[in-house]
């Protein structure tokens, strides 16, 4: 075990996989930085630092800085994958799915199916997402519901450094397109990371807290918010199961249902607006498949149906909060 940040876990995993497999290549905007300047290629690894050092080690053929052309970035990743490589494409902000959706949705996701199962498209798209840095309406969104909805894509959202390593390694060894979401407010989060080869199979949720009274289902940055609420409630003797989904497609339905069968009460926490959201998806799952076990209506703690505002006070009001989660737990427990 080594303690490191999520940023470093990602960076080292990419280094390790690129070393291990010459077919792994990476492309994106400023993932090197400094190309075409007097300062020269910086290899600082872009504005997030997650790709630092790659260029110095693997050179321009495998570490490709691109123009500002997200459709072409994702499209080129699709083409690289069809041609036999294992590309990693970086979208500097997940919001840029807006300018590259077709290549994700109508291309990558559908190749295998449209081509009758005769091809794979092992591309990993890294998407930096989430609110909390006052980056406002176009640089803060959580786009995982939109991509979870798309058959053919897998969707991964690590909440810890260990999961970042285990899930990214798994993504780079698998044969399907994977949307790998990195929360911008979690890059600096630290934790223990297993040394050596470490893979986490997709579709296996992580029980972040065990409690037994109420089930909290969540992912990404909301895991830590939920843990905070759970810890506070635990001090009062209210026990929460906190389920960190890790991957939303495939999703560990059984882990959710097992817990809800036991608790009968579920709170779903989702860093997103409510309509057609992951929260709704899970509430629907629970309502239809754990109906008889439910003792109270599923509670959904989400952001409101509004874009994400800029000002600190407004963004804070937009985001789900540990206090809001706590209140939802109390609400569901109070329901008779």
């Amino acid at each position: 075990m080594t303690v490191m940040t999520i940023r470093d876990a990602i960076n080292r995993t990419i280094h390790a996989e690129m070393e291990r497999n010459p077919d792994v290549v990476i492309l994106g905007e400023d993932i090197v930085g400094g190309n075409g300047t007097a300062g020269g290629p910086e290899a600082i690894g872009g504005i997030w630092g997650a790709t630092g050092g790659l260029y110095a080690k693997f050179g321009p053929d495998r570490v490709i800085d691109t123009p500002i052309s997200e459709s072409a970035i994702v499209g080129a990743a699709a083409g690289l994958a069809l041609a036999g490589k294992r590309p990693i494409a970086e979208l500097m902000f997940a919001d840029f799915v807006g300018v590259s959706l077709d290549q994700l949705w109508n291309q990558m996701a559908k190749f295998r199916y449209m081509f009758g199962g005769k091809t794979n498209c092992p591309a990993v798209v890294r998407l930096v997402y989430g609110a909390g840095m006052n980056a406002a309406a176009q640089h803060s969104q959580s786009v995982y519901a939109m991509l979870t909805a798309i058959p053919g894509l897998k969707v991964v959202l690590p909440a810890t450094p260990a999961d970042a390593k285990g899930l990214l390694t798994e993504a780079l060894r698998g044969d399907d397109p994977v949307m790998f979401f990195e929360h911008k407010a979690l890059f600096g989060a630290k934790g223990e990371v297993p040394d050596g080869d470490y893979r986490i199979p997709f579709g296996q949720a992580r029980m972040a807290r065990e409690g037994g009274d109420v089930t909290i289902v969540t992912c990404g940055r909301m895991v830590s918010f939920s843990e905070r609420a759970a810890d506070k409630l635990a001090a009062e003797g209210i026990g929460c199961d906190v389920i960190d989904l890790r991957t939303t497609s495939p999703m560990d339905d059984e882990a959710i249902l097992d817990s809800v069968e036991a608790t009968g009460r579920v709170v779903i926490v989702d860093e997103s607006s409510p309509r057609c959201s992951l929260a709704a998806d899970i509430a629907a799952l629970v309502a239809s498949r754990a109906f008889t076990a439910l003792k109270a209506p599923p509670e959904m703690v989400t952001a409101p149906h509004s874009p994400i505002p800029f000002a600190r006070e407004l963004e804070k009001a937009w985001l789900p909060s540990p206090i809001g989660i706590e209140a939802a737990v109390r609400r569901t427990l109070a329901f008779r």
Partner: protein, 323 residues
């Protein structure tokens, strides 16, 4: 560039297969047996074949909604294609693609595409793969005159130049995108090549209804790209003999236009005349090819019609390699 007799016969046969495949589809579609949207490539055969005759299995192509010709030229199985277009079991893509999404990665055909312009960035990716491998392989992006207005096509051209990808943008200018004329939709007074050139790559132009001109120009272009000079583009002036899709009344055509292009711009007629006049090949040998291809197309059609539909249970297979 002098082609061998075998090369000439092969090129003719490839064009003839496309032509007869498409003419047959045009007939069969009337029966209502073939579902969905079908875009016929008929008239543009010299483009697909003039390009693909230079390619090996491990060169890549990426195609469009009007993809049958590219598929055949790159080596996709004609019977498998016919079954696919009929939506039958055993189709090249097991009935899931239909006319618009045929692919066969085993011959370097990375896919037709229903989204106009989507293929170009994928070709850049395939070209980057070829560049890493360092064996002089290339990737071709076929695009139409309409597709050249899609943002992805522009992005792809710039990205290919920036990354020095061995990517070749083949613009088949058949003068129409659906019902709209190229003089309207392409701002730059119709010349697509000069627009590509402004991205910083070398460009070529050729008569896409003339196999020999297309083939020779592509030879020069491919030498340039395979030598590691980065991407290139070519604009091929060509014609489509049928409507945008089957069912199009083609009111946008000029009086006598279809007759004229069938008469003056038929690449097969031109090929026959050229090799005949030059005494390169006996016309009877071409007729023999026609006859052989007719048998193939007849068999492909009969087999497709006789094939069972796909098992409805397969609707949920092939979504993931593993899930």
């Amino acid at each position: 560039m002098q082609l061998s007799r075998d090369q000439l016969l092969r090129a003719y046969r490839q064009m003839a297969v496309i032509r007869m495949f498409e003419e047959r589809l045009h007939e069969e579609i009337k029966s209502g047996d073939i579902a969905g949207f079908t875009h016929l490539y008929c008239g543009q055969e010299a483009a697909a074949v003039g390009v693909c005759e230079h390619l090996a299995n491990d060169d890549f192509i990426v195609s469009t909604h009007r993809g049958h010709g590219h598929c055949i030229a790159k080596g996709c199985d004609v019977k498998g294609m016919m079954k696919e277009i009929y939506g039958r079991a055993g189709g090249l893509c097991n009935g899931k693609s239909g006319s618009m999404h045929i692919a066969d990665l085993s011959v370097g055909m990375l896919g037709a595409n229903g989204i106009v312009g989507a293929g170009a960035p994928q070709a850049v990716g395939a070209a980057l793969s070829a560049k890493i491998d360092g064996k002089g392989k290339v990737a071709i992006a076929f695009s139409g005159d309409g597709a050249c207005n899609q943002g992805t096509t522009f992005e792809a051209m710039n990205m290919a130049v920036v990354t020095k990808a061995p990517c070749i943008f083949v613009f088949e200018n058949n003068h129409y995108s659906e019902h709209t004329g190229v003089d309207y939709a392409v701002g730059t007074n119709r010349d697509i090549a000069s627009r590509a050139e402004a991205f910083g790559m070398r460009v070529w132009r050729a008569n896409g209804c003339d196999f020999f001109e297309t083939y020779d120009t592509m030879a020069e272009l491919l030498d340039y790209v395979r030598a590691g000079n980065g991407p290139a583009a070519i604009e091929l002036d060509t014609e489509r003999f049928y409507g945008h899709f089957e069912g199009d009344p083609q009111r946008y055509r000029g009086v006598g236009e279809l007759d004229r292009i069938r008469d003056e711009r038929d690449c097969l007629k031109a090929f026959r005349a050229r090799v005949g006049d030059a005494g390169l090949i006996d016309i009877a040998d071409l007729d023999a090819i026609d006859a052989e291809v007719a048998v193939l197309i007849e068999a492909a059609t009969a087999e497709a019609k006789a094939a069972p539909p796909p098992d409805p249970a397969t609707v949920t297979t092939d979504v993931y390699a593993a899930y």
